[in-house]
Symmetry: C2
Subunit: 276 residues, 2 copies
């Protein structure tokens, strides 16, 4: 068993490390995959971040994140489209496998979820040609239903894949176990995603019982109730063999520990809890 | 507009009122529907609670709750079945419209969600004949996916209705907007539930942004982002005309206010926010 197919989403150590520090800590563990967030890239500088990635021969399993389409007015929508084009440019510069999209919730004051979903579909259709020209796959990340109001109104794999089927090539899904593990149709929709070559990323962490915060209480693999091996087996059964990317937001636990310890724990748990 | 089709789930005032106190406060507002929880019934005494209900000509829109089937061993499963039979007896004694079922999550230590779901389906099949004999409809309440691990592994209307279709007559769904409002298939599944005469209850409250606690931060109708009128319109379009039942768990807000104020606010918001 090796760590060759493990990636660290740098949100996991965002309180501890800049990108250069995180890269050093990953390499010290033998981990050569990372997924940065745009604010982290901007803090380091896009060219500097790209140089670090190239010189260390790192795989960038995704850039987080584009999306956030719904807006209260046309100016807001246009700004979102512009920002997504910049995100595509940055993902290209970093050589990322995909641009991960958190599509956005309802504009403030709205109760019209179907309208927000239509804005998302329209926004995706608008940026997709640009992404195709630049050969940057767009990965819709369905988010857990508890984020439907304020973060992402695409909430199941089935819903995301229905949109992909409408839009055609160049777009797929990021399957984050935290968001989809509960879904009665999970295995059916993983098979569908794989058959359509729509799986662009596989994110891992765990669901804690109890979960004390809706956003910032994700667990380390093995500390919760998600059947990580079964989900990975289903994903691999479709032919997908890409990396597993650890993404943990944990205000009261992992964000408070030394970054080296966090990354070492990711490696240990990956080997122990995540390989079928 | 009248309050004739409004019911108060007594969890909404569980920190303030016993059943007799809650009934008095509801009647003072002109509200004649209630839905008690079993612990509240036991505190008052089953016969006394039934007498209060009959003498005041109240409609009991549901008894909360049966369910909680999955267990780690056969003794646990058998105990759950026994308890559900007692819950059916109590619902009959109270003249409830239905027994609401929160079906249970995974047994402690388990990561096998499909197995828990099978235990639920088996448990429902086991108690259904008893419920039929006693003419007590069983209402599966699909719970929000954030409760899949520890409270209910039936998490969408589609999943609940699939189980109903397998089991036949005498079982349906309680549609609680808090649990289902996010679902991309909501309106399609409401139509399906109505067509199959499966709608047994309609619970209302609101989803707050931000939501500060996974369990105890539900909002009063109108304070959140759920399109209550649209959902009610869809439910009525199927022919269902039953009560709307307010169920709010709110540790930091509504549970701290005087019960009379809470019930008066329920009435006001029902008239203003919930009628299509």
């Amino acid at each position: 068993m090796s760590l060759g197919n493990l990636s660290i989403n740098l949100a996991t150590v965002r309180q501890q490390f800049t990108i250069p520090q995180a890269v050093d800590a990953c390499l010290a563990q033998g981990i050569t995959g990372i997924a940065p967030w745009r604010d982290q890239v901007h803090a380091t500088g896009l060219k500097e971040a790209a140089a670090i990635i190239r010189s260390n021969n790192l795989r960038v399993t995704g850039l987080c994140r584009g999306g956030m389409f719904p807006a209260a007015d046309k100016a807001g929508l246009a700004a979102a489209i512009d920002d997504n084009r910049r995100a595509i440019d940055e993902a290209v510069e970093l050589g990322a496998d995909c641009l991960v999209l958190v599509v956005g919730g309802m504009p403030t004051g709205s109760r019209d979820l179907p309208a927000a979903r239509q804005q998302v579909a329209d926004g995706l259709a608008t940026i997709l040609p640009y992404a195709r020209v630049h050969r940057m796959p767009l990965a819709i990340e369905p988010l857990h239903p508890m984020y439907a109001a304020d973060r992402a109104c695409i909430n199941t794999l089935e819903q995301a894949l229905d949109i992909c089927d409408l839009l055609g090539d160049g777009i797929g899904v990021a399957i984050d176990v935290y968001h989809v593990w509960w879904d009665p149709k999970l295995y059916e929709q993983i098979a569908r995603a794989g058959a359509g070559k729509r799986i662009l990323a596989h994110h891992i962490c765990d669901w804690l019982v109890p979960t004390r915060d809706l956003l910032l209480d994700r667990g380390m693999m093995g500390d919760g109730v998600i059947d990580l091996k079964a989900i990975r087996a289903a994903i691999e059964k479709t032919g997908y063999r890409g990396p597993q990317e650890v993404e943990i937001f944990s205000q009261e636990n992992w964000w408070k520990r030394p970054g080296e310890e966090v990354i070492a724990t990711c490696a240990e748990r990956y080997l122990g809890c995540c390989l079928p």
